[in-house]
């Protein structure tokens, strides 16, 4: 179930649910190793679409990536509340492996309205995007591999979001002023993840990835483990090829993610 409100408009409830994914970096990463991504797509489908209709009126894609939650057991997400104020954001930003910046997490909201619905509803077709750094995320009690989840966010249009001057101390100190522009109530299910490994683990990366998953978040279930070796360019820069026996990462599913795969749903993608 997914219920949401965007700029005061309550959207129809759908059966969509949020996906939770975990990413565990290798021990030499030099930064926080465990991060979580939350994403949900909320699709509004017409009840009786005419022939030739795309079968979807409009949808929202919501993602909140790179959350450093500091839980040693994934079940500890139950009852967790994040108030993403400036103090929290200060703890979330760093540079990760390969010099990639890990920006402090933002809520990204992408709205897409297709033309048939736009014409009938008298609204504008196309895509709009918003970003929120002020947000409150709450997880409820654990139910199997899922948690009830609430997200309140204070949105800024993406076109206005990025700037070339830092915020003033007054701007930085403000948090969650007024009613949230975006509210989401859904169920978030831990479906998949990724474990990075060093070359020392190249002998049996999948077994080692299972151990790491247990050590880092006390998760014993690793289904459909898929091993991917580190890539490199050939000396002529023409091709990118895998390096068996070197560093690797293991992508996996939990039981709910595996069930989705077996039903033929699109595979969860890893970064």
């Amino acid at each position: 179930m997914s219920w949401l409100q965007l700029h005061g408009e309550t959207w129809p409830v759908t059966d969509d649910e949020a996906d939770l994914r975990v990413y565990i970096l290798a021990p030499d990463a030099g930064c926080p190793r465990v991060s979580w991504d939350l994403s949900v797509s909320h699709y509004i489908r017409p009840e009786n679409p005419p022939a030739g209709h795309p079968g979807i009126d409009r949808w929202l894609d919501i993602d909140l990536g790179g959350l450093i939650l500091n839980v040693r057991d994934w079940r500890q997400l139950a009852g967790l509340e994040i108030r993403a104020d400036a103090v929290w954001h200060d703890t979330q930003e760093f540079f990760g492996p390969y010099g990639h910046s890990h920006n402090s997490p933002h809520v990204n909201v992408h709205q897409t309205i297709l033309k048939p619905y736009a014409d009938s509803a008298g609204v504008e077709a196309g895509r709009k995007e918003w970003i929120a750094h002020d947000f409150i995320l709450r997880f409820g009690s654990l139910d199997g591999w899922s948690f009830p989840c609430e997200l309140d966010a204070w949105l800024i249009p993406k076109k206005e979001y990025y700037r070339t001057t830092p915020e003033t101390p007054e701007e930085t100190a403000r948090f969650a002023e007024g009613a949230p522009d975006f509210r989401l109530v859904t169920r978030a299910t831990f479906i998949s993840g990724n474990v990075d490994l060093t070359r020392a683990d190249a002998g049996d990366p999948v077994s080692r990835a299972r151990e790491v998953l247990r050590e880092e978040i006390r998760c014993d279930e690793m289904l459909r483990a898929e091993l991917n070796w580190m890539l490199r360019q050939t000396p002529d820069n023409e091709k990118i090829v895998p390096m068996p026996g070197w560093r690797s990462h293991v992508h996996f599913h939990t039981p709910p993610g595996n069930a989705r795969m077996e039903k033929g749903a699109p595979a969860a993608t890893s970064g």
């Binding site: 540079f95 010099g99 990639h100 930085t172 490199r232 002529d236 390096m243 560093r247």
Partner: protein, 257 residues
């Protein structure tokens, strides 16, 4: 921690590392060319709406370091914390501690830079944990008068007859140096130039790096042959680069992709 101007700084991994370069004609351990690169960008919640490549950034490089190393682990013994100047000893521009190059990009979204405004540096490695070295560095526009003041301090004589001066603490360097940092910096990359006629550049590079700096197993290897690269890359490369094959051995698992 990095103390420079008024920013809170985030170290940029990957670019921040010890590097070694082994040329085709290097024969002794002392011939190896060592560098230390350090890069950081302004961070903190007030910067969350500014993309990291548009924020103020600080790039620091110590090149031509001439350490006496048995192998790379001996980087932990590097100590160029030589603020105690001997009488009439000039600060050496090309001392064993290397040549300092600093670029500071102070403005958002601009390539405007302050270049080589810090000319003197003292630095040392305080500790090592596996491949990570804790580096302490203080840099000055002109450290001469400060070092002279420190050297003029009272000398204490130890029971065994050695003369010692009080070592200023970190707070002193934070206050008096233009730049002061204590950061963990990894042993990052060894680049080996392999002659074109070797049958296996990767094996050749590993053998050379083992012999000259005692490396273990790298985490990643990248081989680049600029002669075989695309026309665009080839044109940008001078002849002396094209004549060899470059093998990069990465030890921190990080590389610029």
């Amino acid at each position: 921690m990095i103390y420079f101007r008024d920013h809170h700084w985030l170290p940029v991994q990957g670019y921040t590392r010890f590097d070694a370069l082994i040329q085709t004609d290097d024969k002794k351990k002392d011939d190896v060319f060592w560098m230390l690169d350090f890069r950081c960008v302004a961070g903190g919640a007030q910067w969350r709406r500014v993309r990291h490549w548009e924020r103020p950034s600080l790039w620091l490089q110590l090149s031509s370091i001439k350490p006496k190393l048995r192998d790379w682990r001996d980087l932990e013994h590097l100590d160029f914390w030589n603020w105690e100047q001997e009488e009439d000893e000039p600060l050496s521009l090309f001392g064993p501690g290397g040549v300092l190059n600093v670029d500071f990009y102070p403005k958002c979204g601009s390539q405007e830079r302050e270049h080589s405004f810090l000319n003197d540096a003292i630095w040392r490695v305080a500790a090592r944990e596996d491949g990570m070295f804790t580096v302490e560095l203080a840099a000055f526009a002109d450290g001469r008068s400060l070092f002279e003041q420190l050297t003029a301090q009272e000398v204490k004589v130890t029971p065994d007859g050695r003369a010692e001066r009080d070592e200023p603490d970190a707070d002193f360097w934070k206050k008096n140096a233009e730049l002061y940092l204590v950061e963990n910096i990894p042993f990052g990359t060894v680049t080996v130039r392999a002659p074109r006629n070797v049958s296996d550049p990767e094996t050749y590079a590993l053998r050379r790096a083992r012999a000259l700096i005692g490396i273990g197993e790298p985490e990643h290897v990248n081989v680049t042959d600029h002669l075989k690269a695309g026309e665009r890359i080839r044109q940008k490369c001078p002849d002396n680069i094209r004549q060899d094959i470059f093998v990069e051995l990465h030890f921190n698992g990080f590389y610029e992709d």
